[in-house]
Amino acid sequence: MQFHLSEEQAAIQEAVRGTLEDSFGAERRQRHVDDGGPDFDAESWNGMMALGLGGLILPEAAGGSGLGLLDLALSVEMLGYGAAPGPLVPHLLTGLALSLSDDAALKGRWLGALASGETVATLALGGGWLPESWDVTLTGGALTGRVGHVVGASAARLLLVGTAGGGLALAESGEGMAIAPLDSSDRTRRAAAVTFDGAKATQVFAPGHPRVARLFDAALILSAAEALGGAQRSLDISVDYAREREQFGQPIGRFQALKHQLATMALEVEPARALLWYAGYAWDSDQPDARRAAALAKAHIADRFVSVARAAVAAHGGIGYTWEYPLSIWLRRSLADRATYGAPSVHRARAADLAAW
């Protein structure tokens, strides 16, 4: 039995964390979130891709490392920890979708470029996030419809689009596609509304294909992983502050009220780690409860992140409420992670249905 991180897994996490910190440190991060900033950051993107993140879960034949979703989730957790900018997770999911497809031509055309990160991809799901609600239509190889929230749309060359009835199609950015940037509340993952009006696309999965459900589960797990990293960061920032900040002649972390508040935050974060691991493990080994595990992990951890990020602000006092203090970045990410791919209550309702209650 092995249900804790191997040395190798811990080393990969540390490499992702360190590289992200080097390429997207405090100053750069703060500039990135200023008003009117970009939806893409080439330096951190290249740093992550140089590490091999783009191909981590892709087959070795396509230039990838052939690792599992759990391994990818561990890296994605560190993206959440470092507030990685741009469409990294949607890009990884696009690569995963293509690798799951049986279309050799499509894979041959794109997988290598996705693994290297040379081609940037993102997701355009639409509807109410769940596959059955996707509503862009694919007729005669052309897309029609609108997706309200596409992260990194301006920077992406490829869009993996959710189509009516729960299918997926791949479109190249260009003709028949209008991109209207949004003033995103999460400044690290800015999005745009995308309107399709005859954009050419190739079907990757027909509506209702079982691998669409599997891909969506992977999206939930990676979203949970990002949220877990963000929650850990919010906690770490708060603990560091409590050890340094002095009031009444002593570090405030000595006061029991704050100590207990921080312990409660830690109690939200640390046990959730194993919940995420199980979801990744269940996905990788195709356990019968894999769908439920993904839904519950997403719902639980998204809630934990919001709760911990809010508690972190409260634990800081005035400084935590300012724009320039870094907590604002993770608080905003927590709101985005909670909404993206569907709210916790949506996934709890699914988990109840999947349990056949």
Binding site: M1, Q2, F3, H4, L70, V239, A242, R243, Q250, P251, G253, R254, Q256, K259, H260, L262, A263, T264, A266, L267, E270, P271, A272, R273, A274, L275, W277, Y278, G280, Y281, A293, L296, A299, H300, D303, S345, R348, A349, A351, A352, W357
Partner: protein, 397 residues
């Protein structure tokens, strides 16, 4: 990650199953026949190396190398066969490891064998009225008079107090030394004129704990574990041998499954409550915590099997269990509705309806207190887990 136990453990499991199939057949036995059958069974299971694995053979144990996976397999298989495991209680969980670590050879020979056999039942004599979380403030006095300790004072919150034949206790024997340095770890025979015991009726109505009064109670001079004044350190000895298990996760999982069953049985608006969207939300919200606890216990188990330190998560399991238990209790209280207005009949009796959940609804409050209160748990997580400075009143600098 891999949740299977591996080939070696599965081969071991087959052996355990064979043993149980041959040796555990109590079907037609009753009363004293059953008792002696169980006694023999335990002896044979120990000979096979399945029970008392951390105890040397010369004291009646099976002296097995530490292997948490084997220990877990044994628990699972004995559980499946409903076969008796070790006689569980303060004796096995606390006193025996303490004697193995700090006792004299004489004490080990004198006490371990009868404890394993179930002839000695041990009560824990730590808490006193007024000590609360500041355990080292104990007042019960012990004075060496000739070749005997003479003990005066009071102990409280002793589980197994009705059956206890003996007690291990923290006693102040060095009144002039410091708070921690004045305590010794003494053993006592409870069957003597100087000892009075009284049950404490709990908030649940039951009485699982006792208090003990000592008026010139006596213990032989050599019934002290460790030196005089070392009692505090001796009492910190914890059971390390194969301690990791996924037992508490199974308890919580069982409670949650019962909660789901309850939601199927009771009605809301003329339909099973489990069909109500709010109930489904409440159940799945709790399940997020139940599963976090379960998989974290797998994580701890895996760390122990690899002989690695448990770290932060190891400090949290008790609080997580407590808080999730409260969530289950409160959800159950809502579901049972007016049944909560009726006192449940005693456990094990007939005709216990949904009001039986009151036992858990109130009983889970004990978890907030026993073995270190929830506030103390948060101190431990904050100080040892997160590295926050210690409270000055509690020894911080």
């Amino acid at each position: 990650m891999d949740l299977s136990y591996g080939k070696e453990a599965e081969a071991f499991r087959a052996n355990v199953r064979d043993f149980l199939a041959q040796r555990w057949r109590p079907a037609s036995l009753r009363g004293s026949e059953l008792k002696s059958y169980i006694r023999d069974f335990r002896r044979d299971a120990t000979d096979e190396g399945y029970l008392y694995r951390g105890v040397p053979r010369r004291f009646g144990g099976s002296e097995q190398p530490v292997d948490v996976v084997c220990a877990q397999v044994i628990r699972e298989e004995f559980g499946r066969a409903r076969a008796p495991m070790e006689i569980y209680g303060n004796g096995m969980s606390m006193l025996v490891p303490t004697l193995l670590d700090r006792g004299t050879e004489e004490q080990r020979e004198r006490f371990i064998r009868p404890t394993i056999a179930g002839d000695y039942v041990w009560g824990q004599g730590y808490s006193e009225p007024g000590t609360g979380s500041d355990l080292a403030s104990v007042h019960t006095r012990g004075e060496l008079v000739g070749d005997e300790w003479v003990i005066n004072g009071q102990k409280i919150w002793t589980s197994d107090g009705a059956r206890a034949t003996h007690m291990f206790a923290l006693i102040r024997t060095e009144p002039d030394a410091g708070k921690h340095d004045g305590i010794s770890y003494l053993l006592l025979d409870l069957d003597q004129p100087g000892v009075t015991r009284r049950p404490i009726r709990q908030i649940t109505g039951g009485a699982d704990f006792y208090e003990f009064f000592f008026e010139d109670a006596r213990a032989p001079a050599d019934w002290i574990v460790g030196a005089r004044g070392e009692g505090w350190a001796v009492s910190r000895t914890t059971l390390k041998h194969e301690r990791a298990s996924i037992g508490s996760a199974e308890t919580l999982g069982r409670q949650f499954r019962k909660l789901v069953e309850l939601a199927r049985e009771v009605e809301r608006n003329g339909r099973p409550a489990i069909e109500d969207p709010q109930v489904r939300q409440a159940l799945t919200r709790i399940e997020g915590w139940v599963l976090s606890h379960r998989y974290s216990s797998y994580r701890l188990f895996s760390l122990a099997a690899a002989d690695e330190e448990p770290g932060l998560i190891g400090l949290m399991m008790k609080l997580l269990l407590t808080e999730t238990g409260h969530d289950i209790a409160l959800a159950a209280q809502e579901l049972i509705g007016d049944h909560a207005l009726v006192e449940p009949a005693g456990a094990g009796t007939q005709d216990r309806g949904p009001e039986k959940w009151l036992d858990l609804i109130m009983g889970t409050l004990g978890n907030s207190i026993a073995g270190g209160t929830t506030n103390i748990q948060r101190n431990i997580i904050g100080e040892r887990g997160l590295g926050l400075p210690r409270d000055l009143a509690m020894g911080g600098q």
